[in-house]
């Protein structure tokens, strides 16, 4: 996959790396708040990229990584309101860095641009000053992950001046832990929703089509009752009514047979499939809504 990358990695971070990150006053290790990746990709794809960035940065011993979700969980609605107003304003975000007691903010976005996917990443300090910045453009969504890892690693190097370790720093696994507690993997949710929607549609269609002969049979029987009334009104003399009723009887027989042999199984089968599909759709939707 790496070989197929048409990577245009432009790292400005290297130029800025000469400026060493200002050491945090408290523990000497800067705290980095990784904000959710923005852009126009699907939610679960952006969540995956957010997790990837956080995981890559966690591999640098000189950084303490905090996920946006962590802040939201701790501060609740207040954090939501503040973050919602600062999604694209670096200065505002820098102000928030102080509010959330972090030294750095990692802001990223992934968007489709023509036939390519563009990913950008920027780390700003609590003065709104960019400490690292990078972007990458790849032709296919499948290639984004590797490119993002490269960008995140380069940003980490620019911030710390060291190489990343093989594994994430143990104390900073919040984001990874959150992802691992999800009931289903991301890739399983879409098939569940799609399968559920298809099942629901097929079930409702089958039940609807299956009910047609039953409804028509009842209608034809009602026609027979009307013909009976006509027969009585005629004084039991108009044999044309009997002929019409005879044709209607043939229709009733045909519809009854169709209902009993095909319509009824279709209705029950459709109901069962529809219920199962609806349940799958509901579960998939709930999981997506709760996904990190």
């Amino acid at each position: 996959m790496m070989a197929s990358l048409m990577v245009a990695v432009v790292l400005v971070a290297a130029a800025q790396s000469a400026e060493a990150p200002s050491p945090p006053a408290e523990a000497g290790v800067p705290r980095v708040l990784v904000l959710d990746t923005g852009g126009d990709l699907a939610t679960d794809q952006r969540v995956a990229l957010t997790n990837l960035v956080a995981t890559r940065l966690q591999r640098f011993a000189g950084l303490r990584v905090i996920a946006q979700r962590d802040v939201q969980q701790r501060l609740g609605l207040e954090a939501d309101k503040q973050l919602a107003g600062c999604e694209s304003d670096a200065a505002c975000l820098a102000e928030l860095a102080g509010a959330f007691d972090v030294d750095l903010l990692c802001i990223s976005a992934a968007s489709r641009l023509g036939g390519t996917v563009v990913f950008t990443l920027q780390v700003v300090d609590d003065h709104g000053e960019a400490k690292a910045r990078g972007s990458v453009s790849v032709p296919a969504l499948d290639d984004v992950a590797a490119a993002v890892a490269t960008v995140a690693d380069d940003a980490g190097r620019a911030l710390t001046g060291v190489e990343p370790s093989a594994a994430p720093t143990p104390a900073t696994t919040t984001t990874t832990a959150t992802a691992s507690t999800a009931p289903l993997p991301h890739e399983a949710r879409f098939p569940l929703q799609i399968g559920g929607a298809v099942g629901l549609a097929v079930g409702l269609t089958a039940a609807g089509l299956g009910a047609i002969p039953g409804v028509m049979a009842r209608g034809a029987e009602a026609d027979l009752r009307a013909l009976r009334v006509d027969w009585v009104d005629s004084g039991a003399t108009d044999e044309a009514i009997l002929d019409a009723a005879g044709r209607k009887q043939v229709e009733v027989d045909r519809l009854r047979g169709l209902w009993n042999t095909a319509g009824l199984p279709a209705v029950w089968g459709g109901v069962l499939v529809g219920v199962a599909g609806g349940a799958a759709l509901a579960v998939g939707t709930l999981l997506t809504a709760e996904a990190p």
């Binding site: 013909l227 027969w231 009585v232 039991a236 009514i241 009997l242 002929d243 019409a244 009887q249 209705v267």
Partner: protein, 240 residues
């Protein structure tokens, strides 16, 4: 409240999801005159001499209650019946076909059989053997409007209070042995007026295959209506 609504919904859904097998209005359904009967309160209406026809609802039962609706399933009695007690007519409730002879007759000597009416036979369409209504207190044959087929001759005899034959107006086919000179005999009903016999003949005018012999009633109507019956006929009707 919610539970009631749930019960109604479940019941409706269950009924809606069941096979449609119940009896239905038989009007217009093809039938065979001496074959499987139509639903109760219908008659297998066919052209004279034809075996096949269409089921037609009975419009009027005369002095009996009108036809019930919706249509119920009919019963077949697989043996004949000799009704010599009024309560035995109850055996024929909802019966559409009797496979054998049906005799509704009282004792030759003594009080007539007190059946009152034949309304309990309103579902009866076919008697595969003979049908004899004799020595009863009947004033009319209402209740037999569904009767369309008799497989071995029909006799109405010695009903001392009988004044009306309209209940037999829907006869379609009456079968007798080849040597028999008639299919229906109306005999020795001492109070049966000429108008009743005339109306009965008119009702069956388009069925020349059903030959009617009338004798010994209140008034002789035509040349072939004898004022008194042949002793042989009397013996036959008395099942001697």
């Amino acid at each position: 409240m919610n539970r009631s609504v749930s019960v109604v919904v479940v019941v409706a859904a269950t009924l809606a999801g069941c096979p449609i097998t119940g009896p239905r209005d038989d009007i217009g359904r093809p039938c065979v005159v001496d074959g499987p009967p139509c639903a109760p309160d219908h008659v297998c209406l066919a052209d004279d001499g034809a075996d096949e026809g269409r089921c037609a609802p009975i419009v009027d039962y005369g002095g009996c209650d009108p036809a019930t609706y919706p249509v119920q399933a009919g019963l077949v009695r697989e043996e004949g019946l000799d009704v010599d007690e009024p309560g035995e007519l109850g055996f024929l409730r909802d019966v559409v076909r009797v496979e054998g002879d049906l005799f509704v007759d009282g004792p030759v000597v003594g009080s007539p059989l007190a059946v009152g009416t034949l309304c309990g036979l309103s579902g009866l369409q076919q008697v595969t053997g003979s049908l004899l209504v004799a020595q009863t207190d009947l004033e009319a044959l209402d209740g037999l409007q569904s009767l369309s087929f008799v497989g071995r001759g029909l006799g109405v005899a010695s009903n001392a209070r009988l004044t009306d034959l309209a209940g037999l107006a829907n006869l379609v086919q009456v079968v007798v042995p080849d040597e028999a000179p008639f299919e229906v005999v109306i005999a020795e009903n001492r109070t049966l007026p000429a108008e009743a016999v005339r109306a009965f003949r008119a009702a069956l005018a388009d069925r020349p295959s059903i030959r009617i012999h009338v004798c010994g009633n209140l008034v002789a109507l035509a040349e072939n209506d004898a004022a008194s019956c042949d002793p042989e006929i009397n013996r036959l009707l008395r099942r001697e």
